[in-house]
């Protein structure tokens, strides 16, 4: 067991974990952050995408011990949803029907936030390439792409 200390969704947490424990398992099993989900075992699907120090990572590809001393943001900490707030990207996914079953959605939203952080005004092509690491089986991506472009527009309007 290894002791880790990190910040998850704004809260300081500390645990003893097996060195082999994946960050996604730590989030789900130790912290109950079940908003972040596991969709595959080959790091292809991106359903487990979170932010590590502000950059998107597939949390199945990071060991929990590697996150020690760092800051993790999950879909549950993206906005103060208890207060009714939504991040503009979350709002855009609802507005544009960018989700159906919703299983890939936390990963999609986290990846989209990161993409727009790097490139606030992407073209459709840039969105399609930037979201390539996240799989969805319901939407055919049409409305996911639309959601990301819509979020870019609304964020741009607010800036």
């Amino acid at each position: 067991m290894t002791k880790i200390e990190l910040t998850v969704d704004g809260a300081a947490v500390s645990d003893d974990v097996e060195p082999r424990m994946l960050l996604v398992q730590y989030l789900r099993e130790k912290l109950g952050k079940t908003g972040t989900v596991i969709g595959c075992d080959t790091s292809n699907c991106g359903a487990c995408t979170v932010h590590l120090d502000g950059t998107s990572v597939k949390s199945c590809n990071v060991l929990a011990v590697q996150a020690s001393g760092r800051t993790v943001t999950t879909i549950e900490g993206l906005a103060d949803t208890a207060e009714g707030d939504l991040h503009p990207v979350q709002e855009a996914f609802r507005e544009c029907h960018g989700l159906q079953c919703g299983f890939c959605t936390p990963g999609m939203v986290m990846q989209a936030v990161d993409l727009l952080g790097e490139n606030p005004n992407p073209t459709e092509e840039e969105v399609r390439l930037g979201m390539e690491g996240n799989l969805c089986r319901c939407t055919g991506y049409h409305n996911i792409v639309k959601s990301v472009l819509h979020a870019a527009e609304t964020q741009g309007a607010k800036a």
Partner: protein, 820 residues
């Protein structure tokens, strides 16, 4: 002013944002794998690496000694309480159906079949211990592939004596729905056109994003199963029927379910094993599969060889169609496995007026993952075959593919129309859908560009693919299912309850897994009952809340489940009218009901439905003889299938030097009757399109000669990404063909995109290179296959033997001749 007056005029047709989304976009979801119960144990499955083998011994000692392992159990540790995986649709009385134990004790029939289960305090400890279970096998020869299975040389189940499970035949001459197809073909050979083709429907994997998961809690009076399933009600029935637990002691819950596409329409070995272990240990248990397990052991779809003969006169008017399918069931006849290709039997004639039709389907058993429904289930295969054939016929006659279709389709004046397969299509307008699709697509401009590229011998050629599809959906009239020997009915159930403060609880037997029922059903009830959209709560997916239902598949939820809702609402209004008349001191015949309010004709007197709900709760003043409730249940059994249709047009660019294909444009004009929520409909169409396009271009489940799945991860099984796909042009006809066999006028849309798109894409690929002598490319149309098709007849030598081979000769998962 009452709340009802704030209600928008009509909810139906409005692009309401979904009620479901708030919890899904914020991560406050209840996927089965999120459930944790006190004292819960975790399961890991030990699976056979062999496709066919006798189990000679299982040594569990090392696994049992592993940390925090509670039990290790194999098939022989259980008796009849383990139950059985059921086949609910024997398609013929003499169907050969191998016994399907959730965990066989003696012999495995596919690679991935479960032979033992490890129970431990954590999932990681269970998996560690599963590695330590030592199983000895006596390997048997495995049969893989339809054509091998038909030879009956190697048997998937030696005790059956054959791999042939059932032969199902429909002949329009014998059924009296048409004439003799053989005679039409003979006549065409002499004086017309005969098109003969063999098409391959490759095996696909549904690949829902949420891996399957099951939790069983045996610690209360009822045993509860949470499962990532499309079919909680059918599971309860099947658990009771096969494990000896009375139905009244079983509660099944489908919480948030992350996609299904038919892939979660199954009574699975994993669910049955979790059930048996929880009963045995009297402890809650959870099993969640890995993606590799899901791809290997959850049911697959499609997998047919289609032998087709189309007869036509010289003008391209079809005179007969003969279809022979060989369909791979895999290792067992799954819950509706044999029935899936039979669903296609009624759709090969599609939108056309064929006078003669014969259909045969031979199902075969192999030592591979068992197959069952995948989005479209039988109809995509049929649509692919006929829409590819119609393009071939157009090429033979030398006319535009839309022209050949127009010469054969049912015109809009001819509805209702009884087809050669015996179905009555109520409404449709193929002319209108085609005209609108052509205009939106820019058909004529793209044809001009295609001609120009051909003229100048452009390296990149353009192809235009057509698919004018229809489908039968809304499974299904119960009597029709009975006549097909299906093991259940096709009705759906609904309840509408009014709470004391005037809110509305709607219970449906449909079980959503991404379709947006909570939103669309709220819109239906809001309009029908005249209450605000926000005041309607849709409850589903739990047999304790929704005790009756037949669940969600076959594009049935809206067209069957939605009608049950309408009936229940109408009963509530009838009941409320009696109370309203009493309270208003009026004759019931003088009351009108509109916008959620009874009014006395010719006066300003009235009562809102919410006031009547409160009055019913109080019970202080109501007429003699009235039962003190406004709540109502209803069951709706459809009188017919319904028949959405549409025209799909696809433009593909093909690089003739590399064989690479690129989608340029995709337009679809679907006629689906009344649209409840256009936003949700568009989403269903987009998602459906990409699943169908993926069959055409990317996806294929491949077992090697030994029966090992070699496309067993997302690295190998190519789900499309956002970078592989384009944005679609989705339109609808201006005046939809309203369904006449239900109140709302709706037709199904969940499977339409998948059914229509595959042939449109392949037709476009073939059309791009037809002038180079190509008349078919096998799916998925990989660059290699396209390149080989282009060069099949031009004498180009394949890669010389002394050059560095791209593929090892004789290696697995390669096209015949690859690497030569």
């Amino acid at each position: 002013m009452t709340a009802t007056q704030d209600r928008p005029a009509a909810e139906i047709g409005k692009d309401r944002r979904r009620k479901e989304d708030q919890r899904l976009i914020t991560g406050r979801t209840r996927w089965t794998d999120n459930i944790t119960l006190p004292g819960m144990l975790h399961l890991a499955m030990v699976r056979s690496p062999f496709a066919h083998a006798n189990i000679t011994s299982i040594d569990t000692e090392a696994a049992k000694a592993s940390p925090n392992v509670v039990a290790v159990l194999s098939g022989k540790d259980f008796g009849e309480e383990l139950g059985a995986c059921i086949n609910a649709w024997p398609i013929t009385p003499d169907q050969k159906t191998p016994a399907h134990s959730p965990m066989p004790a003696d012999r495995v029939a596919f690679a991935g079949e479960i032979v033992a289960v490890v129970v431990a305090r954590t999932a990681a400890e269970a998996r560690d211990a599963a590695e330590l279970v030592d199983v000895e096998y006596d390997e048997l020869p495995a049969v893989v592939g339809i054509k091998n299975a038909l030879k009956d040389e190697v048997l998937a189940h030696p005790d059956l004596g054959t791999n042939k499970s059932a032969l199902w035949v429909f002949d329009s001459g014998e059924a009296g729905t048409g004439t003799d197809a053989e005679a039409a073909i003979t006549e065409a050979r002499a004086n017309g056109i005969v098109i003969e083709r063999e098409y391959r429907q490759q095996r696909l994997i549904p690949a829902f994003m949420e891996p399957r998961s099951v939790v069983v809690d045996p610690t209360s009076e009822q045993m509860t199963m949470w499962s990532a399933t499309q079919i909680p009600h059918i599971l309860r029935f099947a658990l009771a029927a096969t494990t000896g637990v009375p139905e009244s002691k079983i509660r099944v819950i489908a919480p948030d379910v992350g996609g299904g596409f038919g892939g979660k329409l199954q009574a699975t070995p994993e669910e049955w094993i979790a059930w048996a272990v929880a009963r045995r240990l009297a402890k809650p248990v959870k099993y969640t599969e890995t993606r590799s397990e899901s791809l290997m052991a959850a049911h697959h779809g499609r997998d047919q060889v289609q032998t087709l003969t189309l007869a036509a006169d010289k003008d391209g008017k079809v005179t007969g169609l003969k279809v022979h399918l060989d369909a791979d069931l895999g290792s067992y006849v799954a819950i509706v496995g044999g029935g899936v290709p039979v669903l296609g039997a009624f759709m090969f004639n599609a939108i056309y007026k064929f006078p003669a039709y014969r259909f045969e389907c031979q199902t075969v058993l192999t030592n591979t993952t068992f197959t069952d429904a995948y989005r479209g289930a039988g109809r995509p295969e049929a649509t692919y075959a006929i829409e590819r054939l119609m393009d071939e016929l157009a090429a033979e006659v030398g006319v535009d593919p839309l022209e050949i279709r127009e010469r054969n389709w049912i015109t809009h004046e001819e509805f209702p129309f009884t087809t050669v397969a015996g179905l009555e299509y109520d409404t449709g307008n193929y002319e209108a859908a085609t005209a609108k699709a052509k205009a939106s697509f820019g058909y004529d401009e793209l044809r001009r560009e295609q001609a120009e590229r051909r003229e100048r011998g452009d390296r990149v050629q353009l192809g235009i693919g057509v698919s004018t599809f229809t489908e039968m959906c809304g499974l299904a009239p119960s009597r029709v299912l009975g006549s097909l020997d299906y093991g259940a009915g096709g009705w759906e159930s609904a309840s509408v309850r009014l709470t004391p403060l005037g809110k509305v609880e709607v219970v449906t037997g449909a079980s959503a897994h991404g379709q947006g029922h909570e939103t669309a059903f709220s819109q239906i009830v809001a309009d029908r009952l005249g209450v605000p959209f926000e005041d309607v709560e849709v409850l589903h997916g739990d047999t304790q809340v929704a005790p009756k239902g037949l669940d969600t598949y076959g594009s049935r939820s809206l067209v069957v489940g939605g009608e049950a809702l309408v009936k229940a609402v109408d009963k509530v209004i009838d009941k409320a009218k009696v109370l309203a008349a009493h309270l208003l001191e009026a004759n019931a015949d003088d009351l009108d009901y509109a916008d959620g309010r009874f009014t006395v004709r010719g006066t300003d007197q009235g009562k809102a439905i919410q006031e009547l709900a409160t009055a019913t709760f109080a019970g202080h003043d109501y007429p003699e003889g009235m039962e003190l409730s406004l709540d109502a249940d209803a069951t709706y059994d459809p009188v017919n299938f319904n028949y959405p249709h549409g025209t799909h047009l696809c433009a593909m660019e093909v690089d003739t030097e590399t064989g690479a294909v690129k989608m340029r444009k995709y337009t679809c004009c679907d006629d689906i009757g009344t649209i409840i929520n256009p936003l949700i409909v568009a989403g269903q169409v987009h998602g459906g399109l990409v699943q169908g396009i993926a069959q055409a271009l990317w996806e294929e489940a491949v077992h090697d000669e030994a029966g090992t799945l070699v496309s067993g991860s997302f690295v190998d099984y190519l789900l499309p990404t956002s970078a592989d796909t384009i944005s679609f042009d989705v339109v609808h006809t201006d005046e939809p063909s309203i369904c006449t066999t239900n109140t709302l006028g709706t037709k199904g849309v969940g499977e339409a995109g998948t059914i229509a798109s595959t042939p449109a894409v392949v037709n476009a690929v073939v059309d791009a290179v037809r002038h180079l002598g190509v008349n078919d490319v096998q799916m998925p149309c990989t660059p290699e296959r396209v390149w080989r098709a282009i060069h099949a007849n031009d004498g180009d030598a394949p890669t010389p033997a002394d050059a560095m081979p791209h593929f090892q000769e004789g290696s697995l998962n390669q096209d015949e001749g690859a690497g030569a």
